[in-house]
Symmetry: C2
Subunit: 333 residues, 2 copies
């Protein structure tokens, strides 16, 4: 295992210490239980937007805490759900009196623990709504999931809901934005290589040198199929077709096209990928009016990409363009 780490059991703590050193203007990091909140939390009268999940997907979610996006993020151990006490403490820490939205990726552990935290918070008179993101069209059920997995749309929901909360919209309105993203976003990913979870010390799965896996999950969960490595253009077609046909999208729809690195795939390959994805979207009559390209929701050092397509209406475009100041996404401020 070749990683820039010290002891595997300390990776998440040391990462959080690094974040605390690096971004004191943006966030405060709490330890035991671990959570990251924006430095001016709680913001009075503003809905608090929270997400969380296993570590290993950075910059998601801690890198998206700040003005105009998340109020708090709860990192679990690598590829492991955070615990209800983390989520409860984060919920209390960012409670500005206008309620809290939990944005939850559809994994069994995350669902269960966020539900428990929401119940505990309600017991302390904090209003909580939860929206579960399940945008991965690759498989119906998966290793850690009943139903579809939650992937790339989660980050887009965090941006749009964060902007809506910043405008002081009500909890129901912010949750409605999240539900709109849940309904209008679809994703699919693929892997060229596995990744290695630090405390496991060996690759999660074996993928021979001439093979790739289409429809992989962000924890290395099995996808749809393994096959010999194909060209970038052929791979992008295999990802875009299921996404576009699933919703379905209509000619003339405005979309955000998000091409994501799984961690080990460099930017030069992401732009080669983006090129073909853009051409396919355009051929279907979709108007790519916004995009996001980079390592955003990663699987440690896995090589591969995922593509997310989100149908946008006018309000969503305005929310996307609103100022954001986080370690992972920043503009306008």
């Amino acid at each position: 295992m070749k990683k820039l780490i010290n002891k595997p059991e300390n990776v998440v703590r040391e990462e959080l210490e690094g974040i605390a050193y690096a971004h004191p203007d943006l966030v405060k990091v709490h330890f035991d239980p671990n959570f990251v909140v924006r430095s001016d939390a709680p913001v009075k009268g503003k809905v608090g937007v929270i997400s969380g999940g296993g570590s290993g997907h950075e910059p998601m979610h801690g890198g998206f805490v700040g003005i105009g996006m998340l109020d708090a993020a709860c990192p679990g151990a690598v590829f492991t759900s955070p615990t209800p006490d983390q989520m409860l403490e984060a919920t209390k820490a960012v409670n500005g009196g206008a309620g809290i939205l939990h944005i939850v990726k559809n994994y069994t552990g995350d669902i269960m623990n966020f539900e428990m935290a929401a119940d505990l918070a309600r017991g302390q008179n904090i209003e909580v709504e939860s929206v579960v993101i399940d945008d991965d069209v690759a498989v119906k059920d998966s290793l850690y999931t009943a139903g579809r997995r939650g992937v790339g749309s989660t980050v887009l929901a965090e941006k749009l809901c964060g902007a809506a909360a910043e405008q002081k919209r009500s909890l129901k309105e912010v949750a409605d934005v999240c539900r709109k993203v849940k309904d209008a976003g679809r994703s699919m990913g693929m892997a060229l290589t596995s990744c290695t979870v630090p405390h496991v010390g060996k690759p999660t799965f074996d993928l021979p040198e001439d093979q790739m896996e289409i429809g992989i999950g962000i924890h290395g969960e099995p996808g749809r199929t393994r096959m010999p490595l194909k060209s970038a253009d052929e791979i992008v077609e295999m990802l875009m077709e299921p996404i576009i046909s699933d919703l379905p999208y209509k000619s003339g729809d405005q979309v955000l096209l998000f091409v994501n690195s799984m961690g080990g795939t460099p930017l030069i390959e992401l732009y080669v990928t983006y090129r073909k994805a853009h051409e396919i979207a355009t051929k279907h009559g979709l108007k790519v009016v916004r995009n996001l390209i980079g390592p955003i929701i990663t699987s440690l050092e896995m090589a591969g990409v995922s593509i997310t397509l989100l149908k946008l209406d006018g309000d969503m475009i305005k929310l996307w363009d609103a100022p954001v100041k986080t370690a992972g996404l920043r503009w306008g401020i």
Copy 2:
């Protein structure tokens, strides 16, 4: 070779096509010869800031073209210097009448071709200054370099000079900012793995599973030493000590600490690295007042990191904080 590409000979062209689709608000991409200019170029009365070099280091340089940073970038083939005609055409395209600064990384091919382009531009009555960045303390001469290699400080110079040019400073003043970065910045990198140049098809060098290389170049040029893999904290000490002792820095100095992924190292490891680098800098009495963390000057999918430390004065801090709008760095706008 596992890459998301089509034909190796088309990688750079298809990447540029992807950039053209993705960022028409920021840049225009010219083909044959290849160069990327900001979409509103030339800006009248503003110094044009240009850099370039081999592809494979994305987002550097094309990802840094836009308001407040580069006016143009010239991408060569992967790990290969761009040609004088690319640089000349880029120089002419962004000539707003106030002169042009060429920011050149110290590699023999880049130096030679930028010099030739500058001479040709001067022959067409365009004033050109060139500053060569040579900040890598690892080795004195290298595979493609006489003297030290140019690495991480280059991106910092692009940001600061871009901001200075945006303020309509004169060519001499913008070049002075670049010379200040050249003098006050030091870098060193290390690799856990090699990368594979697409048209070569096999790793540039072999690095056994239990070995790492300290002082590596961004094209896989040999470093100072190979040794068994050590902990992140030990590795960061091996990078920080030569950097800090080289300048030297003084207790109380304000610095920018830049922790860079070579491409295949994920963000979770960068923050573990940042943590120790920050602690070492602080122990030496340095004040880390700004930072940059991410895959910024990469070597395709190489796993590894580099660290750059730049001593800052008050003017440099203001230039760093000035608005920037590029695909790779963005804030305030």
